[in-house]
């Protein structure tokens, strides 16, 4: 009995080591998303925080909340287009907002748009797939053909 306990104790570091190894190997595909989230947070703090606020709660009657928002977790193309083209005068969850969402398509690069959207889609109680640079490129293409 005692031997088993001692053996288990001795083996514990091995289990922990294996577990760590597992985490390490899992981290690889996640790493780029982690970097996107980090970059995205920095972009959010530079371009979005004034209107949408640090807690994502927005400003009553001026800028909508991003907390648990269907507009944030919606399909990629529609979310990207809000950032590219801006939004004004739309009723959101029964509320109208007086300040415009400025079009940032000419201000931010594709990668920056992908990163900030990935951040917002996975912050403030939201959970939605990451957005990539090529998603943004595709949406720009659609937007261009649509406007032509």
């Amino acid at each position: 009995m005692n031997k088993i306990v001692v053996l288990a104790f001795l083996m514990l570091p091995c289990f922990l080591f294996l577990k760590n190894q597992n985490a390490e190997s899992k981290k690889k595909p996640v790493a780029s998303t982690q970097q996107s989230l980090k970059n995205g947070e920095a972009i959010f703090k530079k371009y979005c925080i004034s209107c949408h606020q640090a807690d994502g709660g927005g400003v009553p009657h001026m800028a909508p909340s991003l907390i648990k928002s269907k507009y944030v977790t919606a399909e990629k193309d529609s979310v990207i287009k809000i950032l590219l083209n801006g939004l004004q005068g739309r009723e959101i969850n029964g509320q109208t907002y007086n300040n415009p969402m400025p079009p940032l398509g000419a201000v931010l690069k594709d990668k920056e748009i992908a990163d900030v959207l990935t951040y917002v889609r996975n912050s403030f109680g939201n959970k939605a797939p990451a957005i990539t640079e090529s998603d943004v490129k595709k949406a720009r293409g659609n937007a261009n053909t649509a406007s032509k």
């Binding site: 371009y47 640090a54 400003v59 007086n98 400025p102």
Partner: protein
């Protein structure tokens, strides 16, 4: 005959003195009991406060009748009512009876010459009052002004009156700083800002003429980005307005402004307005630290350059972004002498000071003498927002409108939760 005359004179005098002291003592007696915690407000010594009503809706501006009842204009109609009439039937100070009418949202409300005036975001209406200041025909207002611009941004239409039969209405600019692309970083200002032809100013209309449009009014003042609080000063016989200064200097022009500078600039300005005045938006803003008019970055400014043309200077300048939504010149007798004819200002509270903490959410006071500020401004009532205000949405209450009761009490509305406060003073 002479004796008789003297006698009746004496009788009249005694009755008058009696009446006067009676009404005086009645006023002191009728001040209701304040809340033990002053309804959560912090006030100067001797002042107390109570919440006379709660959950009224988006309580924007308000007015107190000579009977002591309250009309509140709601930002958006609640249960089909955009105007609430609050009454205190058992005289305990609490306004337990609430009725409503007017199915439109808006901000402005006021009583003038036997009428209740109220504004939507495009029109001004009025309702005839009876001798008890009650609206007898709530479903049939007269339209005084119609067709004012509402493009979302800065759309509230506040109102006030002079003593010569005129109504003053603000029309806010539907823009932050007249950029070619509103609020887009680096976007430059449109030369000869076209917004100013129909917004970004004050319009004067006749208070008793129906169906007036822009063309029937006088474009009284321009270069005012957005005014929500305004009041007529009877000592100076002039209009005073509180301008909401432009937002986001750092967000839009980070090479000229740090976040710290952007959190306090530009000033929220109090202007004394006379016909034809131009306060300079969107070409300049007032910097309360340099005490100068500074050229807007959208029009070639860099935070230091001044403008060639001189615009109207403010009579008082407050820190940026506090959002002054209510202005009232205090003419009552209840408060100490210091407050007589001074200005109370309701600051709605900031949103664009990130990453600095948000600020405002209080009622300030500026002492006045002969129609001019005579001392430094101070915070009069604080504590509306609760302990910590991380963002405007988390503020418990946001002061918006101010009104004076017939006994000299000060009423404050909150458009976040709809609390109506009454602030009183007892020696």
């Amino acid at each position: 005959m002479k004796k008789n005359f003297l006698f009746s004179f004496l009788v009249v005098a005694i009755v008058l003195v009696g009446l006067f002291s009676f009404t005086n003592s009645k006023h002191v007696q009728t001040l209701p009991k304040a809340n033990a915690d002053n309804a959560g407000l912090t006030l100067p010594a001797g002042f107390s406060a109570m919440n006379v009503a709660d959950n009224t809706g988006e309580a924007r501006h308000l007015v107190v009748t000579k009977e002591g009842n309250v009309y509140v204009k709601l930002g958006s109609a609640k249960n089909g009512n955009g105007i609430l009439y609050l009454q205190d039937e058992n005289h305990d100070g609490k306004m337990e009876k609430k009725t409503g009418f007017g199915d439109y949202g808006g901000t402005g409300i006021g009583i003038h010459n036997g009428y209740l005036y109220a504004s939507s975001n495009t029109d001004v209406y009025r309702y005839k009052l009876n001798d008890k200041d009650e609206v007898e025909n709530p479903s049939q207002p007269e339209t005084i002004v119609t067709g004012l611009l509402d493009r979302g941004e800065h759309n509230s239409k506040s109102i006030t009156f002079d003593n010569d039969g005129n109504l003053y209405v603000n029309v806010g600019a539907y823009s932050n700083s007249c950029q070619a692309q509103d609020r887009v970083p680096g976007s430059m200002g449109i030369p000869g800002c076209p917004i100013l032809d129909s917004a970004g100013g004050i319009w004067q209309f006749k208070a008793d003429k129906l169906n007036q449009h822009y063309g029937d009014g006088v474009h009284y003042a321009t270069g005012l980005r957005n005014v929500v609080g305004l009041d007529w000063n009877n000592q100076d016989n002039a209009l005073f307005v509180m301008q909401h200064g432009r937002d986001q200097l750092h967000d839009l022009f980070p090479k000229y402004y740090t976040t710290k500078q952007s959190a306090v600039l530009p000033a929220e300005c109090m202007y004394e307005i006379h016909k034809g005045d131009n306060a300079g938006w969107p070409y300049i803003y007032y910097d309360q630290i340099q005490h100068k008019q500074i050229l807007m970055p959208e029009y070639g400014g860099d935070g230091k350059k001044t403008a060639d043309k001189k615009y109207l200077d403010p009579v008082e300048a407050f820190p940026g972004h506090l959002a002054p939504d209510g202005l009232l010149f205090y003419t009552g007798n209840q408060f100490p002498e210091k407050y007589k004819n001074g200005a109370f200002i309701a600051f709605h509270g900031s949103w664009n000071r990130s990453p600095e903490p948000q600020a405002g959410y209080f009622v300030a006071f500026v002492p006045f003498k002969n129609g001019k500020p005579s001392g430094k401004w101070e915070i009069f009532a604080n504590g509306f927002a609760g302990e910590k205000t991380l963002s405007p949405g988390s503020a418990k209450r946001r002061p918006c409108g101010l009104a004076q009761g017939p006994d000299g009490s000060l009423y404050v509305s909150d458009d976040s939760n709809g609390t109506i406060y009454r602030i009183m003073y007892k020696k």
